[in-house]
């Protein structure tokens, strides 16, 4: 863990205090600066990015006639 000095960088106390316990300065800091959003630089342009696959809307298959064999008709014995 690396302590962030008080004076350089123009950081106020409220900015550097939480960083004392953060991983900033260690390898991997690109994604871990406590309380500070990832440094992605200045905005350049806006994009509209399509997803790889459009949501799959599959039409329902038409109902097929049942081809299941019907049970054989068995005469019911009627008592006299």
């Amino acid at each position: 863990m690396k302590e962030v000095p008080n004076e350089p960088g123009g950081l106020s106390m409220w900015e550097w205090m939480p960083r004392i316990f953060s991983c900033e300065g260690e390898p991997g800091h690109f994604c871990f600066q406590e309380g500070v959003p990832m440094n992605i630089g200045e905005p350049v342009r806006e994009l509209e990015v399509e997803p790889l696959l459009a949501p799959a809307v599959m039409p329902e298959a038409p109902a097929e006639p049942s081809v299941a064999p019907q049970p054989d008709f068995e005469p019911v014995e009627v008592p006299d």
């Binding site: 863990m1 316990f21 953060s22 991983c23 260690e26 390898p27 991997g28 800091h29 690109f30 994604c31 871990f32 406590e34 309380g35 959003p37 990832m38 440094n39 992605i40 630089g41 200045e42 905005p43 350049v44 342009r45 806006e46 994009l47 509209e48 990015v49 399509e50 997803p51 790889l52």
Partner: protein
Amino acid sequence: MTSSLVVGPLQAFRCWRVEWQDGRPVLGSLFHTTVWPADGPLRAKCEQRPGSLALLFRRFFSRKVESHAAPAWGCECGIYAMSHLEDDEDLKMSPHICQRGPLDRVMRVAGVAQLWGRVVQHDRGYRAEYAQPLRLLTVPSLVRVRDTEGLLEAVARRYRIPLVTRAEDLSRAA
């Protein structure tokens, strides 16, 4: 501001918090309490957090709560990811256990996410509307604790994403 149409999702680097929550392995944001869903994409929303004293005062005295779709030009909202890394050394520390506070330790893992929807492109990265994890990097020499290995494998299974063991593979993938 006109937006350009890009076909297909972007791929970019980012890190996640990895932990067990209610018995389930989850990927979470490092800066927020957001948990990334395992069964679909994460959609960004602007939380309008008081990042500065001026914004705090403005919100306190304003009856109208400003809201907008995320990410918005001029705001800081959106799902963050890096388009490229200046130093691959960063990737060689994944997974990594960070001391986030005096009593708070958190494991983070680097990886690649795919981004789509409304995206604000920056010099070094993006702020996106939708994102989904794509790959995670676990350098074997850093996975010393058995629980750590189990947690990472469980996360990969739940999110149905592969674990790659070399930083080069992750870089090439992105």
